[in-house]
């Protein structure tokens, strides 16, 4: 039987990593590093905020990592927390080292669709990484949006990523920034408590508000519940999901969550789509 192949099947395989070089490395926290990457030759397509790349440490392996910076000249940034063999190897990469990049994959935050209204960005821990390009876009086109609020939570002050930048957003007064930690130190000037507790202090105009949330899944559930309780429609509450992603292109089967494949249908979903799925234990 003859198989009708898509026209581009003989084109570059989406599984082959594209060589990038580490051109910058910043230690964010004790276990988290931001790498700036530039293509050795051909760049990948320009990502949209919210998408992810598969990052490959040569000889070690590959992991999905959200894109924390989309810079000029095909430079991309990835903020990596060292939790396994591959992420440890990536975090250890020094300037000049080569890594492989595949992508960009998945859905984005749809920042444009929030134009004209209010935006609330809510991040827990390293969940700020895929939201950092959103904040950049909101700041860059500040007039296209009404109130912009950024809520940042972390376990402790030392575990807030992009600390200097968060402070500069706060200082600029162009957007409202609130921070909270679970465990404060004597020098801490922000709030103490989990992220959802910040929401009651935010003015929400539910009809025109878009909410974008990224953090641990338990934080997504409680935060989404809080903003839904304030009248924001589930379609306007977007979350970025995490699952085991090995191919990024819908072929490995590891990232299934019921009917959806996180890599293709996500990682960014409206809560109306994934809320019922994450509520189901062990789906």
């Amino acid at each position: 039987m003859v198989l009708a192949l898509p026209a581009d099947v003989r084109a570059a395989d989406a599984m082959v990593p594209v060589p990038y070089r580490v051109v910058g490395r910043a230690q964010e926290t004790g276990d988290t590093v931001t790498l700036s990457l530039e293509p050795v030759e051909q760049p990948i397509a320009t990502p949209a905020p919210g998408q992810f790349n598969m990052l490959y440490a040569f000889g070690v392996g590959e992991v999905p990592i959200s894109i924390s910076g989309i810079d000029a000249g095909h430079r991309v940034r990835h903020t990596v927390r060292a939790v396994g063999a591959v992420s440890q190897a990536l975090c250890a990469a020094e300037a000049g080292a080569m890594v492989g990049v595949r992508g960009p994959f998945g859905t984005d935050w749809g920042v444009d669709s929030a134009a004209g209204g209010d935006v609330i960005v809510i991040a827990g821990g390293i969940g700020l990484a895929p939201l950092r390009p959103v904040v950049h876009e909101l700041l860059h086109n500040r007039r296209r949006f009404r109130r912009v609020t950024v809520l940042v939570g972390a376990r402790s002050p030392e575990e807030i990523v992009f600390r200097g930048e968060v402070a500069s957003w706060q200082a600029s007064a162009r957007i409202t920034v609130r921070t909270t930690v679970d465990y404060a130190t004597a020098a801490w000037k922000g709030e103490v408590g989990v992220v959802p507790t910040l929401i009651e202090r935010v003015t929400i105009d539910p009809e025109v508000t878009t909410v974008m949330i990224c953090g641990p899944e338990v934080m997504l559930r409680f935060t989404a519940a809080e903003v839904l309780g304030r009248g924001v429609a589930a379609e306007r509450v977007r979350v970025s999901m995490e699952r085991n992603v090995q191919c990024g292109v819908g072929r490995c089967g590891h990232c299934q969550l019921g009917p959806v494949l996180i890599c293709l249908n996500g990682p960014v979903f409206p809560w109306s789509r994934v809320g019922p799925l994450v509520a189901r234990r062990e789906l």
């Binding site: 198989l3 898509p6 040569f58 392996g61 939790v83 492989g100 490995c252 019921g258 062990e282």
Partner: protein, 386 residues
């Protein structure tokens, strides 16, 4: 997919020497002919060059958790149903190299993809053609096609053989995938018992198939040949007793995710992954670095994976499905329900392999029936959050 058999091809008849000639023609064309053969007490698929390697006179007795070869009263070459192998072994090998590269300080040299074998598959069942069509949907008809699968699949020639002796585990009619070959074949053979052992009615399904058939010593099918073939088809259909009614199946399963039956089946399930290994549509795979002693060489392998493995859903922090209950539920609801959401088709073709090769004899059709019979039953108190 090409349309079904063009109507201007007439069936022809091939005798046993003609079947050998068919294999010879395919080998001459540079194809590796893969067909059924007996090894280790099972009908498996392997490279063959002689019809003497076919499982002449063997049948397979199958039931939940049971597969045994048995001598037939006759000498049919294709008188079995299906064994543990599927053509997935050749189109989507258990281990394959995704890519390999030489790495230096200055860059990365990715090796061109390896040449794929040109296969001819002999003895493909209707349910197996359906399974290949399912894998086409998953692996090729996407925005990110699997290059290796597409190349193997595109090169392969499919010589189907209609099922004459279905097993008690078969339920292809429920899935609309058999037992008679309808589409997807280049040639479809029906084995007709006769004094010489058997002869074959050959239906032509494609131009490629017609070109091969034209090089063989065949004769036009006589009415007696057609009647004998029709008797094989109807006999096979009549021999299938198992069913998995498909009506409303997706909704029934997705509305019963907290049904107590999942606990019952989990108490038996060993999470051994046999069902996923023998399944002709299961496509889950690990994409992993292949260890290399050379610091300059990097290579990634794709290896069959199973949703029954606890690390299939592993994230930093743990597995998303830590109980066998949730993993069996994932497997069955994916096959019969969410596969439609993801790929627009069922993931089950009714071949029955998962029933026969389950070491404890879990029967997917029985599990579905149990849930249907007690639709809406829940292990949780009403109103509790799962």
């Amino acid at each position: 997919m090409v349309p079904a058999a063009p109507t201007d091809y007439h069936p022809v008849v091939l005798d046993r020497p003609g079947l050998q000639a068919l294999i010879d023609v395919l080998v001459t064309d540079g194809r590796r002919v893969i067909g059924p053969t007996v090894r280790d007490g099972a009908v498996v698929y392997d490279e063959i060059t002689q019809i003497g390697e076919l499982p002449a006179g063997w049948a397979d007795d199958q039931g939940p958790g049971r597969y045994r070869l048995r001598r037939r009263d006759d000498d049919l070459l294709f008188g079995y149903a299906v064994g543990p192998d599927s053509w997935k072994r050749f189109l989507f090998p258990p281990v394959s190299t995704t890519w390999q590269a030489e790495v230096s300080r200055d860059g990365v040299e990715v090796a061109p993809p390896a040449e794929v074998p040109r296969y001819a598959f002999l003895g493909v069942r209707a349910c197996e053609l359906a399974a290949i069509a399912v894998q086409d949907r998953v692996l090729v008809q996407t925005n990110y096609p699997d290059r290796d699968y597409a190349a193997r699949r595109g090169e392969a020639l499919f010589i189907a053989v209609n099922c004459s002796s279905p097993a008690t585990t078969c339920f292809c009619p429920s899935m609309g995938s058999g037992p008679r070959v309808g589409s997807g074949h280049d040639l479809a053979l029906t084995e007709i018992p006769d004094a010489a052992g058997s002869r074959f009615l050959v239906e032509i399904g494609s131009e490629r198939g017609a070109a091969v058939a034209a090089r063989l010593a065949t004769r036009d099918a006589a009415p007696a040949d057609r009647e004998a073939a029709a008797a094989v088809w109807s006999g096979a259909a009549a021999a299938i007793g198992r069913a998995l009614p498909a009506d409303g199946l997706k909704d029934v399963l997705l509305h019963n995710l907290e049904h107590p039956r999942w606990d019952t089946v989990a108490a038996r399930c060993l999470a051994c992954a046999n069902c996923t290994m023998v399944c002709p549509t299961c496509f889950c795979a690990d994409f992993r670095e292949a260890g290399s002693l050379s610091p300059d060489h990097a290579e990634q392998h794709r290896t069959w994976a199973s949703c029954f493995a606890v690390d299939h859903s592993q994230l930093h922090g743990g597995s998303m499905r830590w109980t066998t209950r949730s993993r069996y539920r994932q497997w069955m609801t994916h096959k019969l329900a969410t596969w439609f959401d993801q790929f627009g088709t069922s993931g089950c073709v009714g071949c029955g392999r998962c029933i026969a090769w389950c070491p404890v004899g879990i029967d997917i059709t029985e599990e579905v029936s149990a849930i249907r019979a007690t639709d809406g039953l829940t292990r949780l108190p009403a109103g509790a959050t799962p």
